[in-house]
Symmetry: C2
Subunit: 319 residues, 2 copies
């Protein structure tokens, strides 16, 4: 019994001949180790839980790939759990994952509320936030600076001579993709001495149609903007099509820029200029951080911010 355990767990203290015999028996009997029993006995499951806000969102899928690759590298299994972007489902999912005795947790949902913090606190395994941050700085995280990504995007528009710049925002309740990007937009205007104009901001829901709706609104304006900054690629694509559908052109009539650099950005005409977020890296780095935490290695930097960059394509023109 114990020897079989040693063989299965690659414990070196087994005579090669014995090891071989055990392997043969395993083969012959079709023995499959019971991970549940193992987990109970060893108090480790070598699996980490990943809670994803929305599995059908390509950005998160990319993060997941980064997580996966590093997890495999360190021989952790990962179990993905979808949370439908609902806060209570997130909490529920965190708890089931914890009940399943995962060795660590990666959380991708935003915003991180007090309730989340509460749930995290009761966990006795390390947790790292991935593609999101905890404002209070209590939980390790890996993210980009959404505010400055937005700022850079809008500044690049201003650099092209645009002065009347609209924004298609996400909900301001969403700290990362929503609020922070809106703040970046405002700061860029401010830094350039452009007065902020409420009528130039529409709130969308990150979907294509909401981008198109917002754009149609801007087109109707008596004093039209010359450029629009979208919080996400998908809404930007909706905007581009709304422009084209009404007989106008990108970028000659309107410049469009967004942030995400999803695969879709090159799947429109004109191709979308957008600021790229290193989603894969966010996943990879956060998983790496988690492994360190799980091994109780000490980490110098527990709130890491990855750099972003503008990918210039064809949707922005000068004025």
């Amino acid at each position: 019994m114990a020897t079989v355990s040693r063989v299965v767990n690659n414990n070196p203290n087994v005579k090669p001949a014995t090891r071989k015999k055990v392997y043969e028996a395993i083969e012959r009997l079709g023995y499959r180790p019971n991970a549940v029993a193992r987990g109970l006995a060893s108090k480790k499951t070598t699996t980490v839980g990943v809670v994803i806000p929305d599995i059908s969102n390509a950005m998160y899928a990319e993060v997941a790939r980064g997580i996966e690759d590093i997890a495999n590298m360190y021989h952790y299994n990962i179990i993905l759990a979808n949370a439908d972007k609902k806060k209570d489902k997130e909490i529920r999912v965190i708890n089931t994952l914890l009940e399943k005795q995962v060795d660590g947790l990666l959380f991708l949902g935003a915003p991180v509320t007090d309730e989340h913090l509460q749930a995290f606190k009761t966990a006795n395994v390390p947790i790292v936030l991935c593609a999101t941050t905890d404002e209070s700085g209590q939980v390790p995280s890996v993210d980009i600076n959404h505010e400055s990504a937005a700022y850079d995007a809008v500044m690049s528009l201003i650099g092209q001579g645009h002065k009347r710049i609209a924004m298609i925002s996400g909900t301001l309740q969403d700290p990362a993709n929503g609020y922070a990007r809106f703040q970046g937009y405002k700061r860029a205007l401010e830094a350039s001495g452009i007065p902020y104009d409420d009528s130039l901001v529409r709130i969308g829901n990150y979907r294509y149609e909401s981008g198109a709706d917002a754009m149609r609104y801007f087109i109707e304006l008596s004093e039209r903007p010359t450029a629009v900054f979208s919080a996400t690629d998908e809404m930007a694509i909706g905007a581009i099509h709304a422009i084209q559908d009404s007989g106008l052109k990108v970028p000659s009539d309107f410049s469009v820029i967004s942030v995400d650099n999803s695969r879709m950005a090159s799947m429109v005409r004109p191709q979308l200029t957008t600021v790229a977020q290193p989603m894969y890296d966010i996943g990879a780095v956060s998983m790496r951080l988690l492994t360190k935490l799980m091994k109780k290695e000490n980490v110098d930097q527990s709130q890491v911010v990855l750099p972003h960059e503008i990918v210039v394509r064809q949707s922005v023109g000068g004025i």
Copy 2:
């Protein structure tokens, strides 16, 4: 101890007062049941494993949503495992899931090889194939008829007067999205007395660029096709852009039809005519089937085929 177990598991044989006291103690102590221990003792984990070929594929994400919803309904947890479209990773993932003692397994990868069948056979929990089929009919499955979906698509082109119809196919090694659709294409031509022409078929990799490449090839042909059938939306969109980039128009110069009806289909201009597969339903139905199998209820129909339909938009015109 036993009473707590009863309370936690909603066993009715507990006096309400006692139940209340237990709940209070649970709250006060911050007790969290250990699912691993529970799984070991009860030999059930109330979780089902889902192996997904490619988490970044929107179609699979949609299937996953269907699975999730039904799983929640029946109080099963689901653990998603990505397999990167690699056969050996699929096998490995199936095995880890089985080691984790899932109560059932949903497998979404294609093709289903003998090795897969072998792995399934050693499982002593029910397995259902989801959005894929086992040719040999040994494993329950829920899928659409890819061959006839392709057939219908091509027939609709022929109905519009097209005679020279190209195809952008997936790899013929892929039985569902690849081979079956190609067969449907051929059968439609045959049924209409149109000779099959090898030079009118290009193999892509389901990605945007490969669709564009294939289309560029067709455009160069001395005898151009008037319509193209793409095995997937994404390749179709690549094709549409290749057409437009070379100054031609859809659908006046080329009609384009595909199968998937992904969300992207309405995110192109012109919007894509495509045959819709009920991905959500495939997920939901297969999960439902799995619950029956797990409860050892008998099922009348273990190989279910869901209907598809053509969604007419703007990318197909008459000749």
